[in-house]
Every structure is written in structure tokens, then in C-alpha cells.
């Protein structure tokens, strides 16, 4: 295994590319269908050569305000990620560095709130939102997404902080740095990759959250998951339009994900800080 042979290398290259294309294929197929006419989109045998058309994108935009929905998705994802991190980070810090007897149980309990079945509590939450005037507002969705993702974030940040070597903090303490300095100069730089990847994960999860987004918004705050719902399971042959709408809905998050894949995983893996 010292010097891999050329055949071995070729085998790796070919199989990796084949598998990558295979995994990506459904997305590509959907993307292509967005540029077909409706009759071409369901043609069997499949239409491989077709005259691409923008018709579907024009129709989608005329029926729903894509930019508004995309903007709402961005506001809600960023807003709730920021809020969730602001709440989760101090807790994770305390759990990691100042554990008490209750820490383990508190963490377990937090994770278990993640299992609250959404459909079972829809009506109570709807009533609360109605009374607080939160229906169809950004702040309402930001709050709900924050609460849904908080347990995961606390837990991830906790595991990440726990990897920060105790000796570094200890050394700082002996040097007499203050708590604020400790945070600014030692902990935050060390934990930055972890915080960044948690943020990205939270953005992806918020972006794709469908149940509450659909049920608690009407128009002003409706994000892309609600946008796509108006094209799903339509009457008749609408696969091309559905594909165009789907492409629009996933494009921003796909691009963000591609650009940030390195940051996304850095904090999720361990041993990154040595």
C-alpha cells in the first residue's frame, strides 16, 4: 500500500465519479425537467434532446412571488440561527466547563424536547400565536425555528466545547486572564469552526422546515417551503413547473452548502482542535 498502482488509481477515480453522478442524478434530472415543456417532461422514453424553454420559470414567477419567499427564508433562517446561537452558546459553555450534577439530565431532557410531535400540538401553538399576534410574522417563525433547533445546537456546541483542551484554559487562568479575555482570546477563536458549522447546520434545517412554516404563515412571512407547497401535487401535468419551482426553492441553499461545505463539517468532526 506504499505506492498505489495506476490501475488502482483509475479504478478509484472512475468509481467515485460514477457514484457522485448517480447520487446527483435526481437533482440534475429535476433541473432539466424545469426547462422542458409539460408533455416532454413526462414523455416515455424520456426526452433527452429537447428545446429548452423558460416558460415554466415565467409561469412560476407569475403565480407566486419567488423573491419575497426567498427573502423570507433568508430572514427566518438567519434570524433564528442568530437567536438560537445566542441562547445555546452560553448554556453549552456552562455545561462543558462548569458541569453540575444536573448537567447530564438537563442535556438529555433538552434532546427529548426535539421529539415533540408537531401535529399533536398544532392547535395549542396556533392559539398561542393568535393571541400574541404572531401568526404570519417573521418573528413568530424565528421563535419556533429557534425552539426546534435549540436542543441540537446546545448539544453540538457542548460536544465541541468539551474538545477544547482543558490545559489551555487552565494555563490562561494561571496567567490571570479575566473571564472576558478568556472568552475573547482563547475560547472563541478555538470554538469558531464549531460555532460556524452549527450555524450552517441550523440555517439548512430552518430553510427546509416545512410543517410550521406552512401552518403559521399566510403570505407576508411565507418562506420557500410554503412557496413550493403551492406547486406540489397539482392537478394535471405540472411536473415541469414543479421542477422549475423546486429548482428555485433549493438553489440558494444548495449554493450556500456548496460554498461552505468545509466550514459545515469542521465543527461536526472531532479532533480538529489539537
Amino acid at each position: 500500500m506504499l505506492q498505489p498502482s495506476a490501475t488502482y488509481r483509475n479504478l478509484i477515480t472512475v468509481s467515485a465519479w460514477l457514484i457522485a453522478l448517480l447520487i446527483f442524478f435526481p437533482i440534475l434530472w429535476m433541473f432539466l425537467a424545469g426547462f422542458k415543456t409539460e408533455i416532454d417532461a413526462i414523455a416515455s422514453p424520456p426526452a433527452l434532446l429537447f428545446a429548452p424553454t423558460w416558460e415554466n420559470y415565467i409561469e412560476v414567477q407569475s403565480r407566486a412571488n419567488y423573491l419575497q419567499s426567498a427573502l423570507n427564508s433568508i430572514i427566518i433562517s438567519l434570524g433564528s440561527t442568530a437567536l438560537a446561537l445566542a441562547i445555546a452558546a452560553p448554556a453549552a459553555y456552562a455545561f462543558a466547563f462548569h458541569p453540575t450534577k444536573q448537567t447530564r439530565n438537563t442535556l438529555l431532557w433538552m434532546l427529548s424536547t426535539k421529539m415533540l410531535p408537531s401535529v399533536g400540538v398544532l392547535v395549542p401553538v396556533y392559539l398561542i400565536f393568535r393571541d400574541l399576534g404572531l401568526l404570519d410574522t417573521h418573528i413568530g417563525l424565528i421563535l419556533i425555528n429557534t425552539l426546534i433547533n435549540l436542543p441540537i445546537l446546545v448539544w453540538l456546541l457542548f460536544s465541541f466545547f468539551r474538545d477544547v483542551p482543558y490545559e489551555i484554559l487552565e494555563a490562561g487562568r494561571i496567567d490571570g486572564v479575566s473571564f472576558v479575555e478568556e472568552l475573547r482570546h482563547i475560547l472563541i477563536p478555538l470554538a469558531m469552526p464549531g460555532i460556524a458549522s452549527c450555524a450552517l447546520l441550523s440555517i439548512i434545517l430552518c430553510w427546509n422546515e416545512a410543517f410550521w412554516s406552512l401552518n403559521l404563515t399566510t403570505s407576508d412571512a411565507a418562506p420557500l417551503t410554503a412557496f413550493i407547497a403551492s406547486f406540489s401535487a397539482p392537478e394535471g401535468l405540472f411536473w415541469a413547473k414543479l421542477s422549475a419551482a423546486s429548482t428555485l426553492a433549493i438553489a440558494p441553499i444548495l449554493v450556500i452548502g456548496w460554498m461552505s461545505q468545509r466550514q459545515l463539517v469542521q465543527g461536526l468532526t472531532f479532533g480538529a482542535v489539537k
Binding site: 404570519d136 418573528i139 407547497a229
Partner: protein
């Protein structure tokens, strides 16, 4: 930094959002999409701004029901069906709509459609389009095989036609029927089938009748017919899937909503536009309830603060003038069918839409007040107008879909459906 940015954005958006737009919730069916497309005309005429919430049927129903029942006040105009209207009207959740004025011409609306949206003669939702069910068939295939479709076919005849025309090797299937589980999907069709076989959902004391011989006969017939002469994957095909199959030329016959005829007749969407004939929904033994009665209608929630503007919209969207507008701008096959006599009296419509007289005939013949051979405590042809029916219909639909997929026998499916229905009715307090 990020949080500051988003807070600023949020404040701006919350403040900048317009206050007084009329929020309309509707289904993403093609007729409603046309309404949305034409609505800028209404905005220009009245100066009322519209916000649209267009959702897939089940999602919309869930969304709107939650809001109305909790008095959430999110919608000013809602699209609801013949099933919800009497239930919601009784709760006083939607406004009575008998004050739209002389010009609206209530007498022009088909009587059975009006009845299905009224409580004690008061209209609670105005019909946008209405449908019954009938039989679509491929005239070219029938001719080639020397078959004649009668004006009032029986299920026996349908089965023999299906056997003759079934040619799976060429992706041509004898018959397409709804198989996807759901009270508004397979159970809409199966209820009409059970009706015409002489069965009913409940007896006069609300005891479920799914273990009766009539149900067994009807469901066995259905499963045999689809298994032998239906398309593959029939248990997941709903209205949309079957419509796509029929439009792309894969089905010789299809028994489904009259409202789909306009679509099938549009050469832009369908490969079988010039080769489709129409006839009545088939009958087994009873004529009552062999075709369903459905209407999509517009209503105004009591919680709306803009009911006057809402009524203006209702008047516009369900008027004779709207029919003219759609006919002239979208083509006459696209006008919302089944609601107004005047639509069917138009020469242009009859010429453009050869299915018009069949639709009219089917709608006038579907009587939600007398759906079955034996007396029943409920109204509704293909549904039972009680709040519990959505759940019951869907559970029973699941069992029958399982029988269709071959996972259990029809007898097992009906036994479990009977038990599930009995449990739900007991839980809801109808029976002990």
C-alpha cells in the same frame, strides 16, 4: 453582527408590509390558477389589493380549517367544498351570502349545486365550479375494436370493454380509476360504486355498514376490475395521476370528475383531445348516487375584517361576466364548469366544449339528498357530511388501497375498515 442585520431587516419588512390587502386562500387547481391570473383586472376595477395563498388541496383544507375553527382571522376569502360548507355554516363560521344583489342572478345557478352549499335554503358559499362524475372513453379505440359505448352503460358492460381494450404491452390499459387512499380520492369513487351496488355508509342509527354484502360485492368488483385491466401502480393513482395517464393516451376508459373534461379537451395539454368521448357514470343496480356531486365554492369567514371587499370579490369571481372573461381570454373549454345555466345556454360554449351537455346532465342528476337505495341519516353522495368523515373516509380508503395492492383480501380490508369506523363513531359519541 448577523443578528443586528436580521433585526433591522425584520423591522423593515414588518413595518413595510402593506396592511389592507385582501387575503384569499385557494386550491391549486387549474380553474383557480386562471382566477389568480385574471385577478389584476379585479384589482384595477376596484382598487382592492389581493394577496394569494395557493395550496394543494389537503394542505389548504388543513390550513384553513385550523384558522377558521380557532378564529385566527388570517383569511378574508376561503375556497371550501360542498363537504365543509354545511358543517361550517352550522357553526356560524362563515357568513350567509344571500345579499349579493339582483345583478348576481341567483336563479341562474343550478339548483342541486345551490342546495349542496345551503343550509335551510340560505347560501353560505357561492359556487366557483361544480362537478359530477362521468365516463371518459377513447372513441378511436372503441371504433378500432368495433365497440359501442351506450348512453347509459352498466358496470357489466364497462368490465367487458376494459377486457377487450386492455393491452399492457403497449402501455394501454383497459380502465383507469382512483386508487390512492383518501376520503376525497379513492373513497369518492368507491362511495358512488357502493351506492349503485345498493350499499350505504351508515344505517339510520349511525351503525357502519361496511360489513354488508353490498360493500363486499362493490369492492370485489372494483379490485378485480383494476387488478385485471388497470394500470400498474393503481393503488397510488389519484385524480391527478389518472388525469395525466388518460391525457397521455394510456387509458381506454376513465370514470372521474366532469371538471377534468376541459383539460382533456385542450390539445396543448392532452394527446387525446380529439379522440375522447363522454357518457354517463355506469350503473350496477341502483341509479341513485352513481355519479358524485361536488362543488368548489368561495366563502367569507366570520373572522374577516373586510367582509364587504370580500363580497365584491366573490361577486366578481362567480359572475356571468367572469365566465365571459375566461372564455374570451383563456378559451371556452377553460371556463369554470357546472355552476350557471347561462354558461350552458351559450352557443359558443356548446360548440367549443362538446362535453357540455354531458356535464350538465350529470350535475342535474346527482342528488346529495337521496344518494342511496335505503334511507340514510346523512346527506352527500360520495361523502357523509359529518366532521368525522375525513378521518373515517381516509382510514377506509387505506384499507381498500391495501386490498388493491394485494396486501390483504377484500374481506379482511372491509372487516378492519368496519371496526375502525365503528371505533371512531363510538369515540365521537354517535353510537354506544
Amino acid at each position: 453582527m448577523k443578528s443586528i442585520l436580521s433585526v433591522i431587516l425584520f423591522i423593515c419588512l414588518a413595518g413595510c408590509a402593506d396592511e389592507k390587502a385582501l387575503t384569499i386562500a385557494t386550491v391549486n387547481n387549474s380553474d383557480m390558477i386562471i382566477m389568480q391570473r385574471l385577478s389584476p383586472q379585479f384589482e384595477a376595477e376596484t382598487g382592492i389589493e389581493l394577496d394569494w395563498v395557493v395550496l394543494e388541496e389537503n394542505t389548504l383544507r388543513q390550513r384553513v380549517t385550523t384558522d377558521i375553527a380557532t378564529n385566527g382571522g388570517q383569511f378574508d376569502v376561503v375556497t371550501i367544498g360542498a363537504y365543509e360548507t354545511p358543517i361550517w355554516g352550522k357553526q356560524d363560521w362563515i357568513l350567509p351570502l344571500d345579499d349579493l344583489g339582483e345583478a348576481y342572478d341567483y336563479d341562474d345557478i343550478f339548483e342541486p349545486v345551490k342546495n349542496s352549499l345551503s343550509i335551510d335554503g340560505t347560501l353560505y358559499a357561492v359556487p366557483f365550479y361544480a362537478e359530477s362524475s362521468f365516463t371518459f372513453y377513447r372513441t378511436d379505440l372503441f371504433e378500432a375494436a368495433n365497440l359501442d359505448m351506450p348512453a347509459a352503460p352498466t358496470y357489466e358492460q364497462i368490465a367487458s370493454f376494459a377486457a377487450t381494450l386492455h393491452d399492457p404491452a403497449n402501455n394501454q390499459y383497459g380502465i383507469c380509476l382512483r386508487g390512492k387512499a383518501g376520503w376525497g380520492e379513492n373513497m369518492a369513487y368507491i362511495s358512488t360504486l357502493v351506492n349503485t351496488f345498493g350499499g350505504r355508509w351508515f344505517d339510520m342509527d349511525w351503525n357502519p355498514q361496511l360489513d354488508s354484502p353490498e360493500w363486499a360485492k362493490a369492492v370485489n368488483f372494483y379490485v378485480d376490475l383494476l387488478t385485471n385491466y388497470g394500470p400498474p401502480g393503481a393503488s397510488t393513482n389519484g385524480h391527478n395521476e389518472n388525469r395525466a395517464l388518460f391525457a397521455s393516451g394510456n387509458c381506454a376508459m376513465w370514470i372521474d370528475a366532469t371538471a377534468a373534461a376541459g383539460y382533456i379537451f385542450n390539445p396543448d395539454d392532452s394527446k387525446v383531445a380529439g379522440k375522447t368521448g363522454f357518457t354517463r357514470a355506469p350503473v350496477a343496480t341502483e341509479k341513485n348516487g352513481s355519479g358524485w356531486a361536488w362543488a368548489w365554492a368561495l366563502a367569507i369567514p366570520k373572522s374577516s375584517k373586510q367582509s364587504e371587499a370580500g363580497k365584491q370579490f366573490l361577486q366578481w369571481a362567480t359572475s356571468k361576466e367572469y365566465v365571459t372573461l375566461v372564455g374570451e381570454s383563456e378559451g371556452w373549454t377553460a371556463v369554470p364548469p357546472g355552476t350557471r345555466k347561462s354558461t350552458y345556454a351559450r352557443q359558443t360554449y356548446q360548440e367549443a366544449a362538446p362535453f357540455a351537455s354531458f356535464t350538465q346532465d350529470a350535475i342535474l342528476n346527482a342528488d346529495p339528498a337521496n344518494p342511496t337505495r335505503d334511507e340514510v341519516p346523512y346527506t352527500g353522495v360520495q361523502f357523509v357530511a359529518i366532521p368525522e368523515f375525513q378521518g373515517i373516509g381516509t382510514q377506509v380508503g387505506q384499507s381498500i388501497a391495501a386490498a388493491l395492492a394485494g396486501q390483504m383480501t377484500v374481506e379482511e380490508a372491509l372487516a378492519s375498515a368496519q371496526e375502525a369506523t365503528r371505533r371512531t363513531m363510538a369515540q365521537a359519541g354517535y353510537v354506544k
